[in-house]
Amino acid sequence: MISNRPSNIDDKRLRFDSFGKSSNEIFKDKKSRLPAMGWNSWNAFGSGNTEELTKAMAKKIKDLGLDKLGYKYVVLDDGCYRPERVEGRLQPDEVKFPSGFRSLADYIHSLDLKFGMYNDIGTKLCSGAEVGIYGYEKVDCEDYIRWDIDFIKVDNCYYMWDNATFADPTNAKYSYAPNIRGIAIDGEFKSAVKDAKITGTRAEIKDDYVTFIGTFDGTAPDHTPVGIRSSELIFEIESDKDRETDITVSYATGEEEGVGQWLQVAVGDEIFFDDMLPVTDSVTAFTDSAPIKISLKKGKNSIRIMNHRRQENTLHSYAEIKNELINAGGDKDIVFSICEWGKTQPQDWGHKVGDSWRILNDITFQVGADGDHGTAAWESDYTTSITSQYNKAVIMDEFAGPDKGWNDPDMLVIGMDGINETMNRSHMAMWCMLNSPLMLGMDLRRVEAGDFIHTLISDKDLIALDQDILGVQAKRIFTTYKCDAPDKEYIRNNKRIDVLAKPLADGSIALGFFNLDKAERNDNISISVDDIIAGIGHRMADSESFLKADSYTVRDLISKEEYNSTDRRFGIGNIAACDCKVYRITPAS
């Protein structure tokens, strides 16, 4: 069941060249849906979650009326399984979940809530439990259907075909092409440096060869998700007729980030080679490959030297699980939450199989335990903060939508230590503007009806933005940080205010001003109706009516004040540290 090499990918719909095609190309019945809402055990209890705690959370969701607001999914994260299979099958940790998963699912369903579980495309879960789904897709999905799940989150630790967390670092050999010095075709050597074109921004020239042919690792907040993320090396070859010929590739292999062993050779969209090359002595010990037969067409041909397997393998692994869930469960409605932490640019391919995809590593590593709230942060150098996640998600609006799926900047950290009420409020408003899944991550037993946390997570005005049926993620239309394209530029300097605009189904828009700075700011920012139309008009339900309105009803979604305005500009004068102002602006009549 465990293979020693990535699967052959015979289905073109799983290939890089198909990533931009329709979301339901592979799974015809993939549902259009809004971001999932619920509770996940990880931020609250880490590996220490139990059946008793989960039941208490489900009951509290009902008691607080959170289910009526949309919080439906109760999801068990890592730490719930016995760490070794029994006769090849998953089992619950018998101390933490003594009644078993089906019994817990039945309890959660009896409350009219939905039940979610967790696994991992690798050989182990992130906790180290030796029950990853790799090689067990069929039996595990049968069990998930038997346990009556409605949601599955699938992680990426110990993955066989990438240098993912805990995986063998040398797995990078599958993720990158070798270093390439050139190709020989028709008896002529073509230099990778002088005669070829590099696409994207990942690959680079080093001495007389090209390296980093592949895609970025997006786990850390180092690289923008926008633009062409994968590099290829393209040789343009003229042919006077249709013909077959051989090429040899001058290459040197490695097994580290940037230099691999797996090569793909295509002409146009037809792949002629997709396999490992023999190992060389070092990453600069170049040798010639065996001849690779290709077909050329009369006229100009693009010979593509590439390796898109980092993305294709991961998509293939997730698709296999989705496929087995369908095989076992038919049309059972199961939300599929991809959690590969943005590593393989899932914004490109996640829509083909998943309902959401994590965009970065975790929002916090200081998770709680029973009796400990855990700790979150407003900002950090890594992914572990509200603004780290926001800064990437805010430029990813074009990837999201009901027919595609949702960017997932991780679970809410509301209620954890380390962030004050203002930060919590802005966090909730950000996630709602960004159409993020809203998964609570706190011990709900500490929440009382009407207290600050309950009021915030129950804010119908903000939830309505997240769950608006138009399903358009807010776009950043202005920032005080100097940049040319506020909707595209990856900005990590938090000394700024962002303005986000979000079209809504009833023809209104939400306009959010977010002070990322940990200091009060006094920038006078004024956004006109024309600015809004220029930024999001193409995605608005009725931009014409909005543009031509004589007046607007403006509802401050934070203070809950509402007023009519004939002013065609909306702005702020000053804003407290880490605070936000969010308005719902509706054209009158």
């Binding site: 880490g46 590996s47 220490g48 890592d78 730490g79 016995r82 760490p83 070794e84 940790d93 018998e94 101390v95 933490k96 992130c126 906790s127 180290g128 439990a129 630790c157 967390t165 805990f166 850390a220 590593n361 975790d362 590593f365 200081q366 998770v367 335990a369 029973d370 400990d372 855990g374 700790t375 150098d381 890594y382 230590d417 380390g418």
Partner: protein, 131 residues
């Protein structure tokens, strides 16, 4: 040192009964099922950190340090999203130290998958129980 030996040494140093420790530890929330199931395997440093951190939290009732910034100098801290907090808490409390790969101290790492010898492990236990 195996996981079982480490847990027994911890119990012995703490004056706790080693009888039934695996079940007791799981119920108290400071041991995981894998500790019992894989008890005879060598214990990795990340698992020493996990057990000691959870022992502090669940048995000694010592709340987590909120500021784990000093642990950010560990190059491999975030290689392990599950054990990052365990490692950070134990490192910031001075219970386990980094391993230094370069003479100038510029590359500190925790060595998550590495092992510690018996003397080191005893010292980690002693420091934990002193807190």
């Amino acid at each position: 040192m195996t996981t079982e030996e480490f847990i027994r040494d911890l119990c012995a140093a703490a004056g706790e009964d080693t009888e039934g420790v695996f079940l007791r530890g799981r119920r108290e929330g400071w041991l995981e099922a894998e500790d019992e199931l894989f008890a005879t395997r060598s214990i990795a440093r990340k698992n020493i950190a996990r057990i000691l951190h959870m022992y502090l939290l669940k048995v000694k009732k010592k709340p987590d340090l909120k500021n784990i910034d000093p642990a950010h100098e560990l190059k491999d801290l975030y290689d392990c999203r599950i054990c990052a907090n365990h490692v950070a808490q134990i490192y910031c409390r001075g219970i386990m130290h980094a391993r230094n790969l370069m003479r100038d101290g510029q590359f500190l790492w925790f060595d998550l998958e590495g092992e510690s010898d018996d003397n080191e492990a005893s010292e980690f236990i002693r420091r934990t129980l002193e807190i």
